[in-house]
Symmetry: C2
Subunit: 221 residues, 2 copies
DNA sequence: TGTACATCAGTGAACGCGCGTTCACTGATGTAC
DNA sequence: TGTACATCAGTGAACGCGCGTTCACTGATGTAC
C-alpha cells in the first residue's frame, strides 16, 4: 500500500464520518478501522487529529477558491466593466459550489463540514477557513455591491449573512430536514434540487423592500 | 443548598457551556465545577448527560410552546375564521420568540442550542424536540399554509426551513456578526432591530416565485 | 558487483488522561407509634 | 414525649472505557563507494 493510497483512504473516510457525526464524536479509531489502515497512520501522515480536519477542508477549499476566482475572472471579462447582475453572480457561485465537490465527493459532506465549522464556537477552523476563503469572498461581495447599488451597505451585509444562514443551515442539517420532508410530504430532494429551490428565494430576499424606518411595536398589517 | 438551587445552578451553567462549546465538547466535570456543585449531582438529579441536555431545552421550549399556543388562540379569535395574513403570523412568532428567553436568559443562547440540536445528525435531540413540541409547530405551519395557498406543501416546508436557517444562523452568531457590522459599517443593531430587518426579507422569501421546473419533478402529494 | 548504511511508509502495543457513571455513605428532616 | 425508622439531597472516591498520541520496531527500497 503506497503512501498516496493510505493518505487518500484516510481523507475519504474521515470526511464522510466527520460529516455524519461531527468532529469530536468521530474517533481516529473509527476512521482508521473503517479505512482499513493502521491507527498510528493518521498521526504519522498528518501529525494530529486537528491537522487531519484541516486537511479534509483543504481538499475542498483549495479547488473551490481557485475555480471561483477563475469564474469571476471570466465574468468580469465577459461584462467588460458593465455591472454584473445579481442573478448572474448568485448563479455563478451556486454553479461553482456544486461543481467542485462533484469531482470528489458529495456537496452534502462539504456543507455539513462547513456548518460544523461555523458551529464550533472556539473556532480554529473558522479562522483557518477565513484565511483560505477570505479573499475570494471579499471579491464576491464587492461585485454584489455593484449589482445592488440601492441597498445600504449595512443592509446588504446583513442580507448576505441571512442567506449564508439559509444555505449553511439547510445543507448542513440536510439529513435531518430530508427525513422530515420525506416523512411528512413524501418529498425526496437531491442537493442539486434544493439549491435550485433556493435560488428564487435568495434573489427575492436580496431584492426585498427596506424595513420601515420607524420601529413600531405591533403593526397588524 | 436546597434541591431547587442545585438543579437550577446546573441548568444555568449547562446551557451557557453547551451554547459556547457544543454538547460533546462540554464535560459534566466542567459544568459541575463551574456551577460549584458535586460531580455526581448531575446523575443524581437528571439521571444522565443526555437527560440533562433535554432538560436544558425543556426550560425554553415549554414556556415558549405555552405562550405561542396562547398567541395563536388569540389570533384565531381575532380573525374569526378569516385567513390570518402571513405577516401577522410571522410577527406573532417573532414576538413570542423574543418574549420568552427575555424572562430567563439570552435569546442568543437559545438559538445556539437550537442550531446545535439541528446539526446533530444522529438526533435523539431532534426527535425529542419533535415529540414534545411538534404540535405547536404543526399548528403554525397549518396557519401558514392557509396564508400561502398558492405554495406547494413541500415548497412551503423548505422555505420555512430556509428562514429558520436565517434566524438561527444570524442570532446564534450574533456577537461576531454585530462586531463586523459595527466595525465595517458603523451599524449598531439590537436583536429587536435585527428581527425588524429580517421581516421584509422573510416575507419576500416566502412570496418568491417558484423555481423554474419545480412541479415537473417527482412529487405526487 | 557486493556490502553498509539511509530513508521512509507502515505497525503493534502501550501510554496517560479525561470521560460518564456508580456506589456506599452522610446528615438533615419527616413520620409512625 | 421519646425512639425507631424512612426519605432524600448531596458527597467523595472509585470504576471501566475509549480517547489521541507515542515509541520502538519492521521491512522494503534507494544510495554510496
Amino acid at each position: 500500500m503506497g503512501q498516496t493510497d493510505t493518505v487518500t483512504r484516510i481523507l475519504d473516510t474521515a470526511e464522510v464520518l466527520f460529516a455524519e457525526r461531527g468532529f469530536a464524536e468521530t474517533s481516529l479509531r473509527h476512521i482508521t478501522s473503517k479505512a482499513k489502515v493502521n491507527l498510528a497512520a493518521v498521526n504519522y501522515h498528518f501529525g494530529s487529529k486537528k491537522s487531519l480536519i484541516q486537511a479534509v477542508f483543504a481538499r475542498y477549499l483549495t479547488p473551490f477558491t481557485e475555480r471561483f476566482h477563475a469564474a469571476l475572472d471570466e465574468l468580469e471579462t465577459r461584462y467588460a466593466g458593465e455591472v454584473i447582475p445579481l442573478e448572474v453572480l448568485l448563479e455563478t457561485m451556486a454553479r461553482t459550489v456544486l461543481e467542485v465537490p462533484a469531482e470528489r465527493n458529495s456537496l452534502k459532506v462539504f456543507m455539513r463540514l462547513l456548518g460544523l465549522a461555523y458551529s464550533q464556537a472556539q473556532g480554529h477552523l473558522r479562522r483557518y477557513i477565513q484565511e483560505e476563503y477570505g479573499s475570494v469572498f471579499s471579491r464576491f461581495t464587492e461585485l454584489v455591491r455593484r449589482a445592488t447599488p440601492d441597498l445600504p451597505d449595512a443592509e446588504r451585509f446583513w442580507r448576505l449573512h441571512f442567506m449564508l444562514g439559509t444555505v449553511i443551515f439547510t445543507l448542513s442539517g440536510l439529513d435531518a430536514l430530508r427525513d422530515i420532508a420525506e416523512k411528512d410530504y413524501s418529498d425526496r430532494v437531491s442537493v442539486r434540487e434544493l439549491v435550485r429551490r433556493m435560488r428564487p428565494v435568495v434573489v427575492a430576499a436580496m431584492s426585498a423592500p427596506l424595513p420601515d424606518t420607524v420601529v413600531a411595536t405591533a403593526e397588524a398589517s
